[in-house]
Amino acid sequence: MTLPIKGASIIKAFEDAGIQSVVALPDIVTCDTVLWPLSSNPNFMFIPVCKEDEGVSICASLSYCGQRALLLIQHTGFLDSINAIRAIAVEYQLPVVMVVGLQGSDPDTHPNQSKSIGIRALGPICDALELRHAFVKDEESAISIVEMIEAAYENSSPCAIFVPNPPV
């Protein structure tokens, strides 16, 4: 039996991947167990933004300074930021790492088969943008968070890590 991913494991993955800054707008899926603890964690510079596309730019420009950052948002904000993601992250080939909670996702249904078109469309949108992505649900997938972040910074390429269910 697989165990649901823990918020603490996600934060540990960020630390293991060398993340220094977290740019965020509150997301109901990751808020309690990831965002709140991160916001007061002295190991990270916490950068709250008013709109998600600001965070795409902030993560991109921090990378020029040799700093590792990630953007923690909700999937609605991801959808709202598609043009910034397309231009800044994908076309400029910058290591913009997005960790995205899927608000309203059914825990028993894979996001690609979700009743919500906003959730069901995420995978195909990423494919169309040639944006590397993964869905993380269980504790075993925590290691893939580290691997995806490492690959983003080693290859200077963006990625999206989708969190379908609230971490415990």
Binding site: P48, C50, K51, D53, E54, A60, S61, C65, G66, I88
Partner: protein, 195 residues
Amino acid sequence: MMKRDQALQALARHYQDGIAVAVYQTAFDWMHIRPHDLNYFCTGAMGQASSHGLGLALGAPDEKVIVLDGDGSLLMNLGSLVTVANMAPRNFFHFVSQNNMYEVNGKIPIPGAASINFDHMAIAAGYRHAFSFDDIGQFNSEIKGILELEGPVLVCMHIEPGDFYPLDYVTLHSEETRVKFRNALKSRLQSPLQE
């Protein structure tokens, strides 16, 4: 009203060697007025200049960062005024060229052209200082002192087009421009300027 290129020339005289994020027509003027590898033109999406500048200011806190924004551009990302003010980077200088129109997109007026006031907005958002200029003589005499203030600072420049500079979109979006910037910034961060 100031000629944009004259205002940028005045600014460049006092900002010869630092990071500059520039967009649209101001970027086209600036790349000729102050050619430099620390010019950052690849903001990608309209409205994002202030957010790119914020990341640079936070990532390179010992370097000054100037953002050469446009009025239509800033209107697309007004929340960034609050984001910037909240992080309060002391090295962040935000210049807004206000010509009350989308100059490279058909010269259509911006919403609120008759009444909008960016320096008041900046102060309301929490910037430490904000100024507004429509006279090149006054701008010339005050810009050096403004660049010595603690940021975040916003300077609204009421401008009209000056001389024509080519719309060089290739340089604006090129990988070569990004590589030059990355290398120049890396070098600067390893060997900071001694002031």
